[in-house]
């Protein structure tokens, strides 16, 4: 156990190091002032307080989708609808934020709850299609993402479209529906508290509750869990529902915290980012903030680099790809790990013989 834990850490660090090395290599190839670019990239976000707060802002949506994917990847049903659920959660929350007129704290809470519930239902659709009809959840959830995006846009266009703007956007939200700012002079909003609560709730669910235990069993060994009397379908659906809830709430918080009206015209991409974060966090909710911080950090760093030098921030996508591949690669350092385990096992066995 200790060896595999140690190797998890080594593997994560090495994957990040290799990805960064590849990125730095590319920067040297394409840039006229590579050293300067790399310095901006690596140290940019910590140079100023406001930039560090940008990292926190960037982290917020990633926390929600990272949490969501860390449950999804444990269910064994690889549902990729997080992208669409995040979008529809935001759109629905935006819709209600325009229409509802409730007292101060209750209004955003209601909007976020509705957004979360809609996200939950939408996440369950591909999962049910898979479990009930055997339709590949990967393909159907990818299609769902587009369906949900267009549905959200239709809702905004039909019900709350602002007629004065050329581009599609909603009317302004009610003032009391917006989330208040948590740290003055930044855009860090109270969604951070919601995210923190979800981190704890998901951790408790996954590791301290019987439903979480059942789900982990189902995901890691469906046959075993079935024969020990666990209802696999039910435990998968509970996990998927919670994952959808996180995405919906995340979208709602993002919209109500950052904007005065609903302005998204395309999928924001945070759903797929969740895959990276969950991989980095080993699908452990408590580690999700670290993964989200890492991704947010390199994004903000890359943005600063783009502004200051001639290297484009899309370099981040290369880092992301390399990190996911290496982290999910079973053969990456696999032989070394096996050797270590064998060595310790033989050492133990020999030690056992002596006593």
């Amino acid at each position: 156990m200790r060896i595999s834990q140690r190797f998890t850490i080594i593997r994560t660090v090495l994957a990040i190091a290799i990805a960064l090395a590849v990125a730095i290599g590319i920067i040297f190839l394409v840039s006229k002032s590579p050293v300067e670019a790399i310095i901006y990239f690596i140290t940019g976000p910590v140079k100023k307080f406001s930039r560090l707060m940008n990292v926190v802002e960037m982290m917020l949506p990633l926390l929600f989708t990272g949490l969501s994917l860390s449950l999804i990847q444990r269910t064994g049903v690889f549902n990729l609808a997080s992208e669409g659920c995040f979008f529809i959660g935001g759109a629905v929350a935006g819709l209600f934020a325009v229409k509802l007129n409730l007292p101060k704290v209750i209004d955003p809470m209601v909007c976020i709850t509705i957004g979360g519930l809609v996200g939950m239902i939408c996440m369950l659709i591909p999962a049910v299609c898979r479990l009930k009809f055997g339709a590949s959840e990967v393909v159907s959830s990818l299609m769902m993402n587009y369906v949900l995006m267009y549905l959200g846009l239709i809702m905004i266009r039909v019900f709350v479209r602002n007629p004065d703007t050329g581009q599609l956007q909603s009317l302004d939200f009610q003032e009391q529906a917006r989330l208040s700012i948590l740290i003055p002079k930044t855009r860090v909003h109270t969604g951070l508290l919601v995210a923190a609560a979800l981190v704890i709730i998901f951790w408790v669910y996954l590791f301290k509750s019987r439903w979480g235990y059942r789900m982990r069993m189902t995901g890691s060994n469906p046959g075993y869990s079935k024969y020990s009397g666990i209802n696999n379908t039910k435990s998968i659906l509970i996990g998927q529902a919670l994952a959808g809830l996180a995405c919906g709430i995340g979208g709602a918080c993002e919209v109500l915290g950052l904007y005065q009206s609903f302005k998204w015209l395309a999928l924001p991409g945070y759903g797929f980012d969740g895959v990276i974060i969950a991989s980095l966090a080993q699908n452990n909710p408590i580690l999700v903030p670290i993964g989200a911080f890492f991704l947010a950090y390199i994004r903000v760093g890359a943005d600063i680099m783009t502004r200051m030098t001639d290297v484009q921030n899309e370099i981040v996508s290369i880092i992301q790809g390399v990190v996911i591949v290496l982290l999910s690669a079973r053969a990456f350092l696999g032989n070394w790990e096996k050797r270590e385990i064998v060595r310790e096992a033989t050492a133990n066995a020999e030690g056992g013989d002596k006593t």
Binding site: V138, L151, V325
Partner: protein, 308 residues
């Protein structure tokens, strides 16, 4: 304007064919890898990369066909990298696909910016367009001529490719081995087939074929590259393949269905229906089609099992 008068025209039927062409290539790529027992989400990214490479290489070589060939080679190389990660490093199939999709989504923009200084489109490049073909004799027949003649050559090649892949999978030794690897890798290994090598070859074939689809998008359908221009067509190709039972002919029918939905979307967008509703149609059709087809095949399988 009347909907019926818009739809039942030869021009509309020609639009269907135009919209179906890239889907056919994506579908064929998905059929080949599915037959080898691999789930390849990266069809989307090889298609997008093919679209970009076609534009870039045709600009540099000043020849459409040379650019087209180099784009295919480039995508085969990319597929080698994807296959290396999947089969040698043993990365999780779905995660690997997501990783390469994310990488090339940003990567194509990165390369585009390096070459043109723009992140959106490649308008400034003098890229070449692949030729169209007027079928002799047929082009003069009034209705049929408008529908079937005057498409890009790649559309006609798509038809040939469907037959080619069908023969390859079901009528050759290679195809037999490929299907064996997909259905029972252990059995394949036991008769001396290197399953990893077969999967790798399938991956490269898929990469090359999806690159043709990408080139059709950027060197025919339109004459430029735009970031994210494949817009999920690789995924729709995967869906068509599943819908068609992983056969080239069935998959073509499914692609045709999606192409029709696409064409309806384009045609109806001239009416006063919200644009989003119309563009949503193909994706909804895909989900429903997927559920229906897999529940049908699931039931058929069960019935077979009952008889035993």
């Amino acid at each position: 304007m009347n909907v019926a008068s818009l739809i039942f025209t030869p021009k509309f039927l020609a639009t269907i064919i135009r919209m179906t062409t890239p889907l056919i290539y994506a579908m064929l790529a998905a059929v080949i890898v599915n037959r080898a027992g691999v789930m390849n989400l990266a069809v989307e990214s090889t298609m997008l990369t093919g679209a970009l490479l076609g534009v870039l290489f045709s600009t540099w070589t000043k020849s459409a066909w040379l650019g087209f060939l180099l784009a295919i080679i480039g995508c085969v190389l990319l597929s080698l990298a994807i296959g290396y990660a999947a089969f040698v490093l043993k990365a999780d199939e779905s995660l690997n696909g997501v990783a390469f999709n994310l990488m090339m989504q940003g990567g194509t923009i990165f390369i585009l910016y390096l070459v043109t200084g723009s992140k959106g489109m490649s308008n400034d490049l003098q890229s070449k367009v692949l030729p169209k073909w007027d079928i002799p004799i047929i082009k003069d027949i009034p209705f049929i001529g408008t529908v079937f003649s005057g498409h890009y050559l790649l559309t006609y090649i798509a038809v040939i490719m469907v037959i080619f892949v069908h023969v390859l999978i079901f009528r050759t030794k290679f195809g037999l081995r490929l299907r064996l690897v997909g259905e029972n890798p252990q059995a394949a290994e036991s008769v001396g087939i290197n399953s990893q090598k077969m999967k790798m070859i399938a991956m490269c074939l898929a990469g090359g074929i999806s690159a043709i689809g990408g080139c059709f998008m950027s060197m025919g359908y339109v004459s430029w590259f735009q970031s994210g221009m494949t817009a999920g067509r690789g995924f729709i190709g995967m869906a068509s393949s599943t819908l068609g039972g992983n056969t080239p002919l069935g998959g073509s029918l499914a692609s045709f269905l999606f192409g029709t939905a696409d064409a309806i979307a384009i045609t109806l967008s001239t009416l006063s229906i919200p644009g989003e509703f119309v563009t949503m149609i193909p994706y909804v059709v895909t989900v429903i089609g997927l559920v229906v087809s897999s529940s049908l095949s699931g039931k058929a399988g069960k019935r077979k099992g009952d008889k035993k």
